[in-house]
Amino acid sequence: MKKELTPPQHLDLYYYMRLNRAVEDTMVKLFRQNKIVGGLYSSLGQEAISVGTAYALEKKDWIAPMIRNIGALLVKGVPPRDIFMQHMAKYDSPTKGKDGTSHFGDLDNLHIVSPISMLGDLIPVMTGVALAGRYLGQEIVAMTWIGDGGSSTGVFHEGLNFAATQKAPFVLILENNLWAYSTPVRKQVPLENLADRAKAYGIESYIVEGNDVVAVYSTAKEAVERARAGEGPILIEAKTFRRLGHAQHDPAEYVPKEMRAYWEARDPIALYEKFLTAEKLLDAKGKREIEEKLDSLLAAEREFAEKSPMPPAELAEEGVYCTGDECHKIRAKWERPISEVTPPKSSVKAVWTVAGFGSGKGSGGANAPIHFGETQAAPPKPARESNNGRAGKATAKPPGKSVLKKTAKAATASSSRKARR
């Protein structure tokens, strides 16, 4: 494990992973007490991914968590009570009981987009967030997560391909936890490494040991900064394992015992504790303090959540439409001169026109432009094989240390074409 993080940052990562697990432990108790209205999903054993990736972002950046990314919500600043109340369908929850689980967001302050249950849909949506941020000059990065199963959806392809064509500042975390409900990854994707999918889009990718929070963080940090710098979207495959079933109702008896045992021996929190102890960043006293802090925090948060009422029935009728001028409070925050995107500066000239083609009114006459010089007239020379071909074979089973590899860089990505913006 690397030590680029400062000691307080190391402890932050530890705290958020512990918080992530403690929040979910509390919800298991609530579930068993029948206080959770619907299903309960777990990220047990995957906390390093949610926490490590979200920790690599700046406050202004945007996330869209999936069902197993409670940790990312916590790092972004969502209080545990909100997560409890969402699951308990309480009136004070972010959605006032209209939706459950991690299906909530915050456009104004925390910059969180709510997921929906259909997998992959967040990929084009977060691509749009990334493009809007770039358009407004905000220099933000958009991040979302997808599972091995979700990477089989059509919208995964549409979204990532579009992000790639636009060089959107977008980072996609592919959590390969080996199981999509009861279907093993091999039946989802005939690839050893799901990161290989990046090649199809000509984008950068990384593979990382998902149970190593420092490796996850370092990889995500690098990816986020590269995306922010305009290198285009980046895919990170984090290799991990779904320790529990698809949700609480599923005992996951289809998982081989040996596989489970292998991964249980690689618990991300236990691994990190070992590291922190060896590096003398955490001792028994420090650990106890964190545990006491978590206990009192979660007791208070849980109490608040339990006391919140159920929503009044009539609420079901409200809010389908955004009505009145006051409803839509989102105002574009311009961080660049508006004059750059308005005429005359925004206007582009055609390289050539053809008589009689087009000839609409907007073209200003009989000759419409047909070519804007965005495409090269001749095919580019084949680029040098620089970083092409993956270095070595990726390991299916994660070793003790982190694996960090870059996949082939698209030869044309930065060479001849000017970035669109």
Partner: protein, 339 residues
């Protein structure tokens, strides 16, 4: 039926007042993008090519690559990205090259875009527009009227105009609306009709129907291309002494119940004409509303003149049989008037 614009696509320079349906749409986008830098256009071939029907011609030249975005053939990506853009305060207009392809993004629209405000207070001010409708021999995949899939989806607004004036004013209203708005453009009307459009900025309110022709014997409700068919039928009916009141719905969601009820309570008879297929069409919904709210006022059956419950067939003979026309409307109205 409507006047034909034979010079369309050949440097047409209409007078300030008389423009085609298509030009009205282009002007609405142009003016909204001019007015508000948060308005963008995103779709397939909308930039360099100016759109498959040239509705966005000249927009790229004026507003540039960042605001006129040519996308891959990925309808879900177009809708999804536009939704994401709206979260940061932009107001994207999405073009579906043919509205038939909107169903490729059905999940994004009905689950993501439509539910956001209700569930987590996230409005998505965006417009999804594209050429729809038959009568131009486009065949089963380029002639659809898929409006009812979306009228059934709470959270969306659905507009289907019939005149250049309404097209321009309603599209502007759609861009300024804080909700996701679907805007259907009947491609049969694109270059076939011309209409007066004022020189200055104006909008037409969403959710308001309009009486196109006053009458007292029966009410004909319609929209889009069938509006003109209904008016043609009303002319023929008038020659036989039947005065039909013709109402253009303009917006299908939310439906203007007030205008519908007001007219039917006056005429006591109602005929609904739409180009969409019969089963599950808006006529059924309107019939239910009339039974609920105007049962005692009805002096005759509710009559529907619609397309057949089949896909849109390709051959002109088949398509003509499939579509409603003025003759069919005339015959049905005459029958209804006898009650």
């Amino acid at each position: 039926m409507a006047k034909t614009n034979g010079s369309a696509g050949n440097g047409h320079t209409p007078s300030a007042a008389q423009i085609t349906f298509l030009e009205a749409i282009r002007q609405a986008m142009f003016e909204e993008m001019e007015r508000d830098p948060t308005v963008l256009l995103i779709g397939e071939d909308v930039g360099v090519y100016g759109g498959a029907f040239k509705t966005s011609e000249g927009l790229l030249e004026r507003f540039g690559w960042e605001r006129v975005i040519d996308t891959p053939i990925s309808e879900s990506a177009i809708i999804g990205a536009a939704c994401g853009m709206s979260y940061l305060g932009l107001r994207p207009i999405c073009e579906m090259q043919f509205i038939d392809f909107i169903v490729c993004a059905f999940n994004q629209i009905t689950n993501f875009v439509a539910k956001g405000h209700y569930l987590w207070n996230a409005p998505a001010p965006m417009v999804i527009r594209g050429p729809s409708g038959g009568g131009v021999h486009g065949g089963p995949f380029h002639s659809a009227n898929p409006e009812m899939y979306f009228v059934h989806t709470p959270g969306l607004k659905v507009i289907y105009p019939s005149t250049p004036y309404d097209a321009k004013g309603l599209l502007k209203a759609a861009v300024r609306d804080n909700n996701p708005v679907l805007f259907f453009e009947h491609k049969f009307l694109y270059r076939r009709i011309k209409g007066e459009v004022p020189a200055g900025d104006y909008t037409v309110p969403i959710g308001k129907a309009v009486v196109r022709r006053e009458g007292r014997h029966l009410t004909i409700l319609s929209y889009a291309a069938m509006m003109h068919t209904s008016l043609e039928a009303a002319d023929a009916l008038a020659k036989e002494g039947i005065q039909a009141e013709v109402i253009d719905l303009r917006t299908l969601l939310p439906l203007d119940e007030e205008t519908i009820l007001h007219s039917v309570k006056k005429t006591n008879k109602c005929l609904i004409v739409h180009e969409d297929t019969k089963t599950g069409g808006i006529a059924g919904e309107i019939a239910a509303i009339l039974f609920e709210k105007a049962f005692d006022d009805l002096d005759g059956p509710l009559v529907r003149v619609t397309a057949l419950d089949t896909p849109v067939p390709y051959a002109p003979t088949l398509e003509e049989h499939f579509l409603p026309n003025a003759k069919k409307v005339f015959a049905a109205a005459k029958e209804l008037a006898r009650y």
